[in-house]
Amino acid sequence: MYFDVIISGFGGQGVLFIGNLLAYAAIIEGHKVTYMPVYGVEMRGGTANCTVVISDDDIGSPIINSPNCSVVMNKPSLVKFGPLTRKDGLVIVNSSLIEAEDVKLNGPEVFLLPTIELAKEAGNDRLANMVVLGALAEKTGVVTLDSISQAMKETLPERSHKMIPVNIRALERGAEFVRNGK
């Protein structure tokens, strides 16, 4: 089993948070995992991204130049990471902020996800990132939603636990959209 993904977007869209959750969920499922966030000065100016690698073998590089999967939460991320994605890979596009016609990639499968709308439906439009994580998990099968929920419980500080239910709803909404196309 081997999987890698680059998750990218504006700072504040919570991409590092879901990358970390994904990695922790994979550990819970007994995989080896690396999580590599951008750091330092690159964070100024508002873009953020992280790379998660999940495998059953030892993981060499935690930095991936051509990912199997990309999640792009805004336009600059699409421009940067879309074309790097492997031809046989998957690009999950935040269609709430990116127009479908702007996505011109030849090769990887493109999956459009109206994250903000779905998050709103789940009860909080700021949880677009959890919608994406749910969709990613469902679409690739790399981890289960249960593991992600478990990861949330183990990594969030006690005082944030009351937010877990709505986060789970957003996760599930994302997964549902993958299953039902709506």
């Binding site: 504006f10 508002g46 805004n74 336009k75 600059p76 902020l97």
Partner: protein, 75 residues
């Protein structure tokens, strides 16, 4: 997003791509004529706009206070 110059006391030009929606101009304007719109620029920021151009007398305080030199003022 310039406002037609005729019959206005002053003209404000916002270079929207440089606006970061910080809202400093909103608070700085003595007449409260500026607001953050719903419009996102390509950097992902919601941009500031002059809500009532006809009331602006071009005091340029917004421009002075804007950290990103977004606003130019004619009078």
């Amino acid at each position: 997003m310039s406002v037609p110059a005729e019959k206005l006391k002053a003209k404000l030009v916002f270079t929207e791509e440089r606006c970061k929606g910080c809202g400093i101009c909103v608070h700085a304007c003595p007449r409260k004529l500026i607001a953050i719109s719903d419009r996102l620029n390509n950097q992902g920021y919601p941009v500031a706009e002059l809500t009532a151009p006809e009331k602006c007398n071009g005091c340029a305080i917004c421009a002075e206070m804007c950290p990103d030199v977004v606003i130019e003022v004619w009078k």
